[in-house]
């Protein structure tokens, strides 16, 4: 019987002769990632354990991106814990502000995660790296503390589900809409404990930025991981990196627990309404919803192609009166590219805030909290009650084009209307 790409990666890292869904394995990790809100607990558990030296200082990554640049005293203390630990252990993949970016955009950019890797991260959106054909999965701080000790994690091998996308994408419809569509179809636990494997002719034509958007939100359907098998596009993305990639493909006789197949040719841009990512409606059905804040950025849609799309709509236009427009390039490299291409100027002239990379408002951290009664449309990935601030605020999720269009009109708007 054949293996899926996820099973192949887990098999390789488990040192076993065979593997099947439901089995518990101990697997060696290639990358162990944590950030300023999850690393402090991992570091404290590691220190309490009595072990002095991490298993491999080159495989640990620490990124202060959530509440950084430090939003208050307690956050500053948490950031310092990371900095001190990195220094003490000789961890070179520690990214201070000024070099840090939103972790799930930063790591692929730096070539820290590569195809075929097993990546664990104390952040639920670690699944983003599945777009590279890596097995990347979110875990808790204690899992990371364990990995700091022996470089391993326990895993229950998940079954895989296949998602095939056929047809042709309409203008303004991209990776974010595909994943919103999918979560809308299967629900927030529709892929609970499973691996989502995204494939088909539509996926094959997508660039890496769209692929990262899709895999980023696999967790919002309850999945352990979301993968896209590597192809020429992936290979080109990782071409310059030193460490060796392993390019796995699913076997033709691999077993999938369930297969979904959709023709997406009629899809228009989609929006997830409060308060679940699965509460998905077409953008046209929401044209009377007023917005107070527009957020463009995050690990879901803060990459250069996202900013280019937003800028193409905002060029020569202004955010509507009363709309707070906040834009976050996900890394310093993307930030500079946006400046170089004139996108930053477009955003500022449109009356927008162009911010240093940070997770910021996505999780109600800082840089744009909502108060009671406020409505935001954001290119982020989660809109639970109170996600961006007050439990009496409302968050809609969309792609960058819809967000930019909505900033101009002050209401949720189809980009074609601009």
């Amino acid at each position: 019987m054949g293996y899926t790409i996820a099973e192949k990666i887990l098999l390789k890292h488990s040192g076993r002769k065979s593997i099947k869904p439901g089995e518990f394995i101990q697997a060696s990790v290639d990358v162990a990632l944590a950030n300023d809100i999850t690393a402090p607990l991992a570091i404290s558990e590691f220190k309490k354990s009595g072990f002095k030296q991490v298993f491999n200082k080159n495989k640990i990554v620490l990124v202060p991106d959530h509440f950084a640049p430090a939003k208050d005293l307690k956050s500053a203390n948490q950031c310092k814990i990371l900095a001190d630990f990195a220094k003490e252990q000789g961890i070179k993949n520690y990214f201070e502000i000024g070099s840090m970016g939103i972790e799930h955009a930063l790591l692929p950019e730096k070539g820290i995660v590569l195809p075929g890797d097993l990546v664990i991260g104390a952040d639920s959106h670690t699944c983003t790296y599945g777009a590279l054909g890596a097995y990347a999965t979110g875990m808790g701080s204690t899992d990371l503390a364990r990995a700091y000790i022996d470089g391993k994690c326990w895993l229950k091998v998940p079954a895989s589900m296949k998602f095939i996308y056929r047809g042709k994408l309409n203008k303004w419809v991209g990776g974010k809409d595909l994943i919103l569509f999918t979560i809308g179809q299967i629900g927030v636990d529709g892929a609970l404990y499973k691996v989502m494997e995204f494939c088909g002719p539509v996926i094959n034509k997508l660039g890496m930025d769209d692929r990262f958007s899709i895999c980023n939100m696999a967790i919002e359907a309850g999945a352990r991981a979301g993968l896209i098998a590597p192809d020429a596009i992936t290979k080109k993305f990782v071409a310059g990196f030193k460490r060796k990639s392993n390019f796995y493909q699913s076997d033709p006789d691999a077993v999938y627990e369930k297969t979904y197949e959709w023709d997406i040719s009629k899809l228009e841009p989609l929006v997830a309404c409060p308060h679940l990512p699965s509460n998905v409606k077409s953008v046209s059905s929401l044209k009377d919803v007023k917005v107070d804040q527009v957020v463009i950025g995050s690990c879901t849609n803060g990459r250069i192609s996202d900013l280019r799309i937003a800028a193409s709509l905002l060029k020569g236009k202004k955010a509507a009166s009363g709309v707070k427009l906040i834009i976050f390039p996900a890394t310093q490299k993307i930030y500079l590219q946006a400046v170089k291409e004139g996108l930053a100027e477009i955003f500022v002239k449109a009356g927008g805030v162009f911010s240093t990379p940070t997770c910021g408002p996505c999780l109600g951290g800082h840089m744009g909290i909502l108060t009671e009664g406020e409505v935001a449309i954001a290119t982020t990935n989660r809109n639970f009650l109170g996600r961006m601030g007050s439990p009496k605020s409302f968050v809609y999720l969309s792609n960058p084009a819809v967000a930019a269009a909505s900033a101009i009109t002050g209401k949720i708007t189809h980009p074609a209307k601009i």
């Binding site: 956050s75 203390n77 701080s141 204690t142 899992d143 000790i149 609970l192 009650l385 996600r387």
Partner: protein, 162 residues
């Protein structure tokens, strides 16, 4: 291990922002986090908990973020165990890793808010003392029982390395 307590009932899809809002992720202290457990959806929840009480919830409990602060907050406010129809995967592993007892049961709809129940983790049997009914759940996989019995993941790893 037998746990007995009063039930606090919750619905489906209780997420990690419900359990502990992001603004509190500047602390790792269980007591401090416990004060704010479920604050967004049930303002006085932590004050209403007596030590030993039990959360009973629907599907997909703990969905959303990987924040380990979620089961830590639940433990910190005095909850002794969680029973749900199903658990989100990262919350599931966090709960095991820190030793928060939990069980999956499809009979949660039959349990009411305020019921006194008793859970036997080894056998997987839930006794509803208020309603005089019993429910059977599946016993935990052996490997996960090892972690819980060791007192959490780090203790288990230390034992293995020895």
């Amino acid at each position: 291990m037998v746990i007995k307590g009063k039930v606090h009932k919750f619905s489906d899809d209780i997420n990690t922002d419900d359990i502990i809002a992001a603004k509190y992720l500047v602390s790792t202290d269980a007591q401090e986090l416990g004060k704010h457990c479920m604050e967004t959806i049930s303002q006085n929840f932590s004050q209403s908990v007596s030590p030993g009480d039990i959360i009973v919830a629907g599907r997909n409990f703990g969905c959303g973020s990987s924040r380990e602060h979620a089961p830590v907050a639940i433990k910190g406010c005095g909850i002794s165990a969680v029973i749900a129809k199903s658990f989100a995967a990262i919350f599931f592993r966090n709960a095991i890793n820190i030793g928060l007892p939990f069980l999956e049961s499809l009979d949660v709809d039959k349990i009411n808010d305020g019921d006194i129940i008793e859970i036997d983790l080894a056998s997987g049997i839930i006794k509803n003392i208020t309603q005089d009914k019993n429910y059977k759940t599946q016993a935990f996989p052996e490997f996960l029982q090892q972690i819980v019995q060791s007192g959490g993941l780090i203790n288990w790893v230390k034992k293995c390395i020895r």
